[in-house]
Symmetry: C2
């Protein structure tokens, strides 16, 4: 039996793997900056926002803080960044609330919707993301991404790479971990999934963090599949 | 403001409201009976299976029993019914496991897929059912039902009409209860939803429990909408 028999569903990391968060956040920031006449380096701002992503989840992972959805963590980080980038006194809370929804409107990579559409003919597709349900629903509707279910962090009320996020998702799909193929562009995510028995597909997204990306330039583990796009994943799975 | 302004998402009961569970279960039972030469009244069998639905959930609702998904409760009820209907010694466990999956292949009412497709253009659509995620994913794929998210019982690890099932679903959608329109063909479900602040749409499904149906023949509450199909719901909401 090769590594790909018996797969019952595909589970997807989303930020960076399915959607291009960085370009989308920069675009939304620039639009706001032009409207309000703000002199902000929106590339640095986008990188800083994502930079606060893992630190903001850490107190939930350790149990210091009860579950809060990613929308709330993004919003708290945005308060910090509005000060750091010098526009806190130029915007009101409603404007920041609206900017926070930029994460609900991230554009997919060009191969994502066509790749998922092909994959879905054969497999149920579920998100296994740290994004909350409302965010993922908006993202899927925005990008025409045909997920069958939004699972992951909010179902488990915990954040990856905590094991229960992967295990609850497999359980909800009615599958053993071994029957789930975890698809991600991040080594730490796939390594956490593999430790729990999930199969793994690494998607090479070498500019997901911008032109100066230094991590996740390629696979650093023994994954079942390594592909360059979700269409290539559909090819590899015969979809 | 009328009762329908400010709706951010539609949440659906599924068994009886979106899918015709009874005809589908009878059909699957008859197919099995013909294959194995079983003399069983499959209409009575279907009614009995559904009859054990609420009693089987009750120990979870009261907290006597930890959460188990509906697939498991259906399977336990099936053991009881195989004895009651006299075919327990004619089938093995694998055959009963396969019959249990009949609930994953229930056919939608004829108006369901076209109605949901129209409604989805304007509103996110989520299941708010007692069915577990794996069951709902299969059902949606089987019937071409374009739900954006599978929420409800498994997210809350509790069964309707317990309040947390409705409240967790609204929370996951990022909405106040008042911004959710609960769509169901059952008075007890809509009354529980209305007590928590959700808006309500009653769908008249007068044969969901067969020709001898005596309950839920029509609305018994002051609902925001009463319609005869999901296409009529799309009409009423201007979709």
């Amino acid at each position: 039996m090769n590594g790909l028999e018996g797969i019952g569903a595909l589970t997807f990391d989303v930020f960076g793997t399915v959607v291009d968060w960085r370009s989308s956040i920069i675009r939304e920031g620039r639009a706001l900056g032009e409207r309000l006449g703000l002199a902000v380096d929106w590339e640095a701002f986008a990188d800083d926002w994502r930079g606060l992503y893992h630190p903001s989840m850490e107190p939930v992972r350790t149990g210091e803080r009860p579950w809060v959805p990613l929308d709330r963590l993004h919003r708290e980080s945005l308060d910090t960044l509005a000060h750091r980038h010098g526009f806190a006194d130029r915007v009101d809370a409603a404007t920041l609330d609206a900017l926070n929804l930029a994460w609900h409107r991230l554009d997919p990579w060009p191969d994502s919707a066509p790749g998922l559409t092909r994959l879905r003919r054969r497999y149920p597709l579920a998100t296994l993301s740290n994004g909350n349900v409302a965010l993922m629903v908006d993202l899927a509707r925005h990008g025409g991404l045909p997920f069958d279910a939004i699972l992951g962090a909010e179902l488990a009320r915990q954040y990856k790479p905590r094991p229960e996020v992967y295990l609850r998702t497999a359980e909800a799909l009615g599958l053993a971990p071994e029957a789930c193929l975890m698809v991600a562009a991040h080594n730490h995510d796939l390594k956490a999934a593999a430790r729990l028995g999930l199969r793994t597909a690494y998607v090479i997204r070498p500019t997901q963090s911008g032109p100066a990306q230094t991590r996740d330039l390629g696979p650093e583990g023994d994954y079942d599949l390594v592909v360059e796009s979700l269409e290539a994943l559909a090819d590899a799975l015969g979809c």
